[in-house]
Amino acid sequence: MSMVRKWSAGRILALFVLLAAAAVSVFPFIWMVIGTTLNPNDVLRGILAPGRDFASNWVKATENYNLPLFFFNSLKIAVLTVVFGLVVNGLAAYGFEKHRSKARDKVFGVLLLTLIIPQIALVIPMFRMFAFFKLLDTHAAIVLPSIMSAFIIFFMRQNFKMFPTEIMEAARVDGAGEMGIFLRIVTPSMQATYASAAIYLFLGQWNSYLWPLITVLSDAKKTLPIAMASMMNAYTIEYGALMVIVCISVLPVLVLFLSMQKQFVAGLLGSIK
């Protein structure tokens, strides 16, 4: 291919279309960051120059709406889901792939089949179950059902396929136990897979709305999405404080994405490999 290309009309049009798409994609982010510095009226009207109300918006968000509490609730729930999720799903994926048996293959088949069941069909019996055990309005109710993920098990299993079984055999000959093989030999070489799975689990829980909406009853247990959604139901909406909360809720995901773009996209693409 030649290094010097003519700027034909087609190329200029292509660039224009791409720039327009990029502008539309990025604009709401710029708008919400500017919104944190404006008074509620100016947020609504969409003034695009920074104002002077950041301090008062921040005070409102942290004091009237308890932003730190919601942030740490969300963080705690997401981190717990990631930690338990990696252990449980990683081990299961390893078992299904590297210790195959007819019975376990059948179980895996059932597992995949349930992927098509929409969440709305599961929340009613689950709500009754958690109500029965008096676990409504607890963070356990949010974490427990999201640990096991058929999709993550499927994704991790695809990656475990690439780990050479010969290495495991060699370790067995050397007298290593099965748990030792998994923990000391297989897991350390699967860091990229674990990172992608962690990002996927974190995002799913950090952004989850329907199930927390059903189980969270008190202000003290609210997560960021629930807090934002309930702010929108108020009679008067503090738009400036709302923009602060929106920005804070997007920030961890943005940082995660920018610092780990490769694993981030791998997590999304994992399913089509």
């Binding site: 791409l18 994609s25 969409g46 081990l91 299904f96 009754r128 427990l144 096991m148 709305y209």
Partner: protein, 297 residues
């Protein structure tokens, strides 16, 4: 011989040990809800008590015009939003893949950015931007594009447009990344050969690029249809539980309202969720067959 059998048993036991924690959670939070829903679906709740009504919930559904409307909206969003989004994502991916090498990384990053936001954040942002006296209406009026503000959130037609816009903003870049990966896996020599044979750019796109992208496009369509069938966050927050006057009511919002918001009728809500599962299942089956056929070729 005996020793080898024991070792096999040990390996098999270890295999079960690995999958056991996941299976326990699977039984509790997937199998149990599925099995117990068989009980709920035959009952009618009134206050704290419930009675057996057999298939009564399904009879009631046949006369429930709001539920039928909600299902119709799910299909409407599917038919309008998914092709629109796939078309846009495809165009952007193809444009990004041609030349403009220096800006490619930055542009891809920018267009993918909406995918880092949660559906709740998307709904909140769009609801503020699209207020009657909000940013978009103000900008369009001062640019003389419209004379009076558009009721993005309180007109039954424009509210549907709003949902489509919000979904398209959130998901186009996400799907574009899939298509880009698909495009980059195409061997450039194929295009060079086509060039030698005198095939035009348009011809190359339709006879080389598009056929090679079909599996990726199908994959996008599969995940998008199942997502749209479950559409909940946007109509629940952006347009106040499917408003105005049920104009954006979806199956998931209606089920949620029946079970948890208006009258705690778990039986009726479960029966309606069966319909959603059935529709999702049929879609998944058809699409898997299509994907499978492509792979077999």
């Amino acid at each position: 011989m005996e020793k080898r059998g024991m070792y096999q048993r040990y390996l098999n036991r270890f295999g079960w040990f690995c999958v056991a924690p996941a299976m326990i959670l699977f039984a509790l939070f997937m199998l149990y809800p599925i099995v117990s829903s068989l009980y709920y679906v035959t009952r009618r709740w009134k206050g704290m008590t419930n009675t057996f009504i057999g298939l009564g919930n399904f009879v009631r559904m046949a006369h429930d015009t709001i539920f039928q409307l909600a299902i119709a909206h799910n299909f409407l969003f599917m038919i309008v939003q998914i092709p629109l989004m796939i078309f846009l994502a495809l165009v952007l991916a193809v444009l990004l893949n041609q030349g403009i090498r220096r800006l490619r990384g930055a542009l891809r990053l920018a267009i993918f950015l909406p995918a880092v936001t949660s559906l709740v954040v998307v709904s909140v942002l769009f609801r503020v931007i699209l207020q009657e006296n909000g940013f978009l209406n103000n900008t369009m009026i001062s640019a003389h594009l419209i004379k009076s503000p558009i009721g993005w959130l309180n007109d039954s037609f424009w509210a549907k447009v709003t949902i489509v816009l919000a979904m398209t903003w959130r998901w186009t870049g996400y799907n574009m990344v899939f298509f880009l990966v698909g495009l980059q896996s195409v061997d450039p020599e194929i295009y060079e050969a086509a060039e030698v044979d005198g095939a035009s750019k348009a011809r190359q796109f339709f006879s080389i690029t598009l056929p090679l992208l079909v599996p990726v496009i199908l994959f996008s369509a599969v995940t998008s249809t199942s997502g749209t069938m479950q559409l909940f966050d946007e109509p629940n927050i952006l347009t106040w539980q499917g408003g105005p006057a049920n104009a954006t009511m979806t199956a998931a919002v209606y089920i949620y309202r029946q079970a948890f918001y208006v009258n705690a009728d778990f039986g009726y809500a479960t029966a309606m969720s069966y319909v959603v599962v059935l529709i999702s299942g049929v879609f998944a089956f058809v699409q898997m067959r299509l994907l499978g056929e492509r792979k077999a070729k």
